[in-house]
């Protein structure tokens, strides 16, 4: 039997982690050392450094995808509410999240916010916290509030871990995540430079692995993937270079990402799993750690629909930068059905793109969308039109 090329082997491993809805990687990590604990978190962003500094494993929970049959979860939600909370409840009620000792629900939208209260009721033995992040970006106002919120989290997790979370431990964890973020920036730069070498269907899986692996291991994996992908001979196609926007919470099925690529698009930037890239550069490791994390959040963080833009002129600038710095030729707005933040943001972003002559198209999905033909046709037509326009 022919040897599996390294890149395929790495991707297979990531895919296995992605498909494992029992979170065996987390269970194995906990089993390696008695007393280990794991804390789940939902999109978009939580300061994983604090969990890590408590000696715990941060675990990203992004719903059940298209492989989970949601039975109980549907009984908790009306038809007009997005899918991620119902599949997350399904994961919880079927025991798949028993390996988690707590859950964090960051402020992103009303649905995830209310899910925090549901979790408190449904899983009364678990640690549950709604993590409010500031929408006021003044250090002495929003920053001060955020530091206080992080202090509470630090104390709570310290109690759960049975040990104090020291500044030294936090700074060490910040360094670990700085390295992880640096590796992911390398991965994004690499993909933007050679999208044919690092298809997004693979990059996505590599990112998803970071939801369940310890950050140190994930950082190694990311760098191994870049090296392995670069070594693999892969054909370059005349595809349209696009940015995907709107998929920052409920995730599209992997088949949807593949369909976009198969339709003739290279995805050169996206907003999947922004937790990996929320903080845009290194957080200092020699200061007061919570204050440094707060400053990074306030002044050097990514943008999504869940975050307030203080001024009108800011709207769409982050997306425009994604387009320009990555040489994208268009934007695909792919938002989950009933996602209020993404869908309300979209007309503003479309307007900004329109004014800057950036082509765009839009569709909705659910994490269990099964019919890819319409999406492939739409994305294909979009790619063709970009190519026609650019030829003209």
């Amino acid at each position: 039997m022919a040897a599996v090329p390294p890149v395929a082997s790495l991707v297979q491993r990531c895919e296995a982690l992605f498909e494992d809805l029992h979170f065996n990687a987390v269970r194995e990590w906990k089993a390696q050392q008695p007393g280990r604990k794991a804390i789940g978190y939902m999109p978009v962003y939580v300061p994983r450094e604090i969990i890590h500094a408590a000696g715990m494993l941060p675990v990203g929970i992004l719903g059940g995808g298209d492989q989970l049959e949601v039975i109980q979860g549907d009984a908790y939600y009306q038809s007009y509410i997005c899918r991620i909370p119902r599949s997350t409840i399904e994961l919880g009620l079927t025991g798949r999240l028993d390996c988690l000792d707590g859950m964090l629900f960051p402020s992103i939208c009303d649905v995830i916010r209310n899910l925090s209260g549901m979790w408190q009721i449904l899983f009364p033995d678990k640690y549950v916290r709604y993590l409010d992040v500031p929408q006021n970006y003044v250090d002495d106002i929003g920053g001060r509030f955020y530091v206080q919120e992080l202090e509470v989290l630090r104390e709570d997790l310290g109690r759960l871990a049975g040990r104090e979370i020291t500044d030294e431990a936090l700074n060490a964890s910040i360094a670990v995540y700085n390295d992880n973020r640096a590796a992911i920036r390398e991965l994004y730069r690499y993909r933007a430079a050679k999208p044919w070498q690092a298809p997004t269907s693979e990059v996505y899986l590599v990112l998803r692995a970071g939801m369940v692996l310890p950050p140190e291991e994930h950082t190694r994996l990311v760098r191994e993937y870049i090296a392995a992908a670069d070594a693999a001979p892969r054909p370059k196609r005349d595809n349209a270079r696009v940015v995907i926007n709107g998929a920052f919470c409920e995730q599209p099925p992997l088949a949807l990402v593949k369909s976009i690529e198969m339709s003739g698009c290279y995805v050169v930037d996206d907003d999947f799993m922004l937790v990996h890239r929320w903080l845009l550069d290194d957080v200092p490791t020699d200061g007061k750690p919570l204050e440094e994390l707060a400053r990074a959040f306030l002044h050097r963080s990514a943008t999504t629909a869940a975050k307030y833009d203080e001024r009108r002129e800011q709207k769409g600038q982050y997306l425009l930068r994604q387009v320009r710095t990555n040489g994208a030729e268009g934007v695909i707005f792919a938002a989950p059905s009933f996602c209020d933040p993404a869908l309300l943001e979209r007309p503003m972003l479309q307007d900004v793109l329109g004014r800057h002559g950036v082509p765009h198209t839009a569709f909705k999905y659910a994490e269990n969308t099964g019919q890819m033909a319409p999406i492939r046709e739409q994305a294909g037509t979009f790619a063709d039109s970009i190519k026609l326009w650019s030829a003209a």
């Binding site: 909370p85 209260g117 869908l343 309300l344």
Partner: protein
Amino acid sequence: MTTTTISMPPPIGKPVVKPQNVQKEDAMWLQKELINRNYRELAQARALGRKVSATFVPGNLNELLMCFDFARSLPETNALQNGLRKKSGKMIMDAERDGQSEDVCTYVKADLGMMLGGEIGPTGDPLPRPDVLLLSYTGCFTFMKWFELIRHKYGCESVMLHVPYQGEGRIAPNMREYVVRQLRETVIPALERISGVKFDIDRLRQYLRESARAEEDLIAVLHSAKNRPSPIDGYFGAVYYIGPIFTAFRGTPEATEYYRVLRAEIEQRVRDGKGPITPEGEMGEERYRLVVEGPPNWTSFRDFWKMFYDEGAVVVASTYAKVGGVYDFGFRHDPEHPLESLADYCLGCYTNLNLPSRIDMICRYIDQYQADGLLINSIKSCNSFSAGQLLILREVERRTGKPAAFIETDLVDPRYFSAANVKNRLESYFQMVKQKRGAAAAGGTPGFIPIATAH
């Protein structure tokens, strides 16, 4: 302390004409007159050189805005008034044609559609573009996007007041401090700059004094539903009662007077042993006492209400009547601690409470108002209310032993009000309540089955 007198603009235009085919309490007519007067004031704001603010009902800082002489617009109220007048359907479709998703909040789309249609308010008067969008987004993320959308399209300035969520079911000191600091250091300076009026804290104190008086009377009115028969409907009728205090009138002497008159009227109804007044006159025998969770439907408001009073069902308490402020449990605006009090008000609005707190509140209502059960009107547009309501239903049934029912409508999108379905479900629910009473009287142990759950 200096004494500040409040001067309100004199009434503008014609008073409300009472149609002959609708019956209302005198206070209800007064309420309508107040609301209409605000629209007239908004229409004339530009001519009178007044700046215009827009803000939301939950977290409405009306007293603060009055300190800067703003004419005050509340987009949710505009949308619901357009819904009541059957104008919202076209506005929503216009907004969808303009690029808004069919999935998102119809208040937002009704507002955007209204602006696209020439910025004419519900009463037919022009509604001026706001000079400031005070984004006090208590309990609802959609508010943030709503004002970003208005700002994006029309260039109005937005001012953020981030109100943290009561995730742990309480107001932590740092939450209050955060809101106060924002008020002091960002919101008030911005309002001073935009209005050109210097902030006077004694003026604020005076308004808050008025607020507290009105709140005292409002809560006496809402609590009157503990009587049998209840003299009020705590949902459909309460919509009228909360109108002034949740919108542009909290803190005004007119609101204080309105609530004084209202309270006197309701107390007289209690003494007379009367039930609520409905659009068709005095309600007949009180057969069912319900607690309702969720906002009403506005496009078919009268038809919806009729489904209740025709069956002798009265709503004795509702969570919607707390959306612009929870006064049941002791909170009053406090002139001695003006900014802290505004912070506590914002932090305490109903949709800023976590799910366990909302369930506690509903269970307390069922107990204190001796209700027969809970009805949830689940609103497609409003994830802030709706996400988690099916768990609320189960938990309330489990804890109180009272039957609960679930219906689905929308705020202002007429496409999502199916009268036949709603009526069917309500009738079945009333039957279930009756059977349960019979079983309880016979000493049996009835099963508690939700009448309907989501599709």
